[in-house]
Symmetry: C2
Subunit: 222 residues, 2 copies
DNA sequence: TGTACATCAGTGAACGCGCGTTCACTGATGTAC
DNA sequence: TGTACATCAGTGAACGCGCGTTCACTGATGTAC
C-alpha cells in the first residue's frame, strides 16, 4: 500500500485527476464552441464515459462553469503576482508583459473573465476576493513607480471613493493610475483577443507596448 | 387604395414591420438570456405566432443574428458620426460622450459587437465596411484636435502599417491617437458594461471623463 | 492472511424539454381583366 | 364593378437532435477484523 505521506487517499487523488481532466475538455469545448455551448454530456462522450458519470464529480453544469471561472481568476492572479513581484520591487512593465502573455496563451480563459457576462450568473464571494487580489497587485506596482503620478480631477473623486482599494495606503493619484492601467491594458487586450485588429495590418504588440510606455511615463512638469 | 408615393407596396411595408418586430423581441431575448440563447421558436411564441412562421422573414437563425450585428454596427456608426461632426469641426470629446451614451442605452448591443465573439462566426464584408467607417470618424476627430499629438515609437510603426486607415491623410501620430482613443474608451466602457466596476464604489463616468481628458490633453513639451 | 462489509465509480434506461428546420396545407390579400 | 387567378402569410404535424438530470443497478476498490 502507498505511504500516507499526506492526507490524500488514492481515491481522492483519482477524483482530483478526473476533475482536472473534465476541466481540460471543458476548456477545449469552450474554445471551439463558446462557453454557452458547454455540455456535460459532450464532455463525457469525449472522455469515453457516459453522461451521468460526471455527476460524481460536479453537482451540475453551473458548478463546473463556476470552477472554470475560479481557475481562470486564480491563474491570472498567480501570473500577475509572480511577474510583478518577481525580482525585487513590484514592476508595472513586468506585470503588463506577463498579463499579455497570459491572455494570449488562452484567449478563452481571458474572455471567460472579461468577455460578455453570462446572463444571470453571479460570481461567489471567493472569486470576488481573487479579483480584489489582482487589483492589489496592480496597485502595488503603480505605487512602486519611480515617478508619483500627478493629481487629477478624478483622483479627487477617488480620495472619497476608495473602498475598492481595501485599505491600500497609496495616494489617490496612484489609485487613478491603477484603474487606468487596468482599463487601458484591457482595452488593447480585449480588442486583440476578440479579433478586432485582425486584417488591420499593424502589430498589436506594439500598440500594447505604447500603452505600457504611456502608463510608465513621467508626468508632465506642472 | 393607398397612393404609390414610393416603390413600397403594402405587403412590403408589412414585411418590414414584422421583421422589425422580430428583431425587437430578439434584442429583448439577448438582454435576458444572452446572444447564444437566441431562439426563433421562442421569439415566435412571444409574438403569438408559430415557430415556422418566422422562416417567411429570415432564412434561418444565423441570418437573424447577422442582421442584429449589422444593425448594431450601423447604429453605432450613426451615433458617432452625428455627434462627432454635429456642429462644425469634428470633435473627439463629443464623439466620446455620444459613444458612452449609445453604449449605456443598450449594453447588449455594444457587447454583441465587442463582447466575446461567437465562435465560428465571420462577419460579411458590408459589416466590415461599417466598422471601417466608424474608424474613419474617430480618425477625423483626432485629426481635428487642436494639438497635433507627438510622434512615438509606435507611430513610426504605423507609418508603414496604415492600410487600415484607407488612405486617410492624417500623419502617423494621429493614427496612433485614433487607435489609442478606440482602445482606451473601449477599455472603460467594456469593463463598465460587463459589470466589473459594480461594487467598487467609484463613478465610472468620472473615470471615463478622465480618459477623455487624457486623450484631449496637449502633448508634453518636448 | 483471508474473509465480510462498506464505499464509491460508472452504466444504461428513462424523463421532459426546447431547439432548428421541412413540408403540405389553409385562408386571406392583392392583381388582372 | 365583379370575377378568376396568383401570391403570400401563417398553421400544425413531424423529423431528428442533444441537452440536463434522476434513478436503480452492477462491479470494482478500499477498510476492518
Amino acid at each position: 500500500m502507498a505511504a500516507k505521506t499526506d492526507s490524500t487517499t488514492p481515491r481522492e487523488r483519482y477524483r482530483a485527476q478526473v476533475r482536472a481532466e473534465v476541466k481540460e475538455h471543458a476548456w477545449d469545448q469552450i474554445g471551439t464552441a463558446g462557453a454557452s455551448a458547454l455540455s456535460l454530456n459532450a464532455i463525457a462522450k469525449q472522455m469515453g464515459m457516459s453522461g451521468p458519470a460526471l455527476y460524481r464529480y460536479f453537482a451540475n453544469r453551473d458548478e463546473l462553469i463556476t470552477e472554470l471561472i475560479r481557475d481562470a481568476y486564480q491563474s491570472m492572479a498567480d501570473a500577475t503576482r509572480t511577474a510583478a513581484a518577481g525580482d525585487g520591487a513590484p514592476d508595472l512593465r513586468a506585470l503588463a508583459a506577463a498579463l499579455r502573455t497570459w491572455a494570449l496563451a488562452d484567449p478563452q480563459r481571458y474572455l471567460l473573465i472579461y468577455g460578455t457576462p453570462i446572463p444571470g450568473y453571479h460570481a461567489p464571494d471567493d472569486i470576488t476576493a481573487i479579483s480584489a487580489e489582482i487589483m492589489g497587485t496592480v496597485l502595488n506596482a503603480c505605487a512602486a513607480m519611480p515617478y508619483g503620478p500627478a493629481e487629477t480631477p478624478f483622483s479627487g473623486h477617488l480620495a472619497t471613493h476608495r473602498d475598492w482599494a481595501r485599505g491600500h495606503p497609496a495616494p489617490p493619484a496612484v489609485l487613478h493610475r491603477a484603474l487606468t492601467a487596468w482599463t487601458r491594458l484591457h482595452g488593447v487586450l480585449s480588442l486583440e483577443l476578440a479579433g478586432h485588429f485582425r486584417g488591420m495590418g499593424f502589430d498589436p504588440a506594439e500598440l500594447y507596448a505604447a500603452e505600457v510606455d504611456a502608463l510608465a511615463a513621467p508626468p508632465p512638469p506642472a
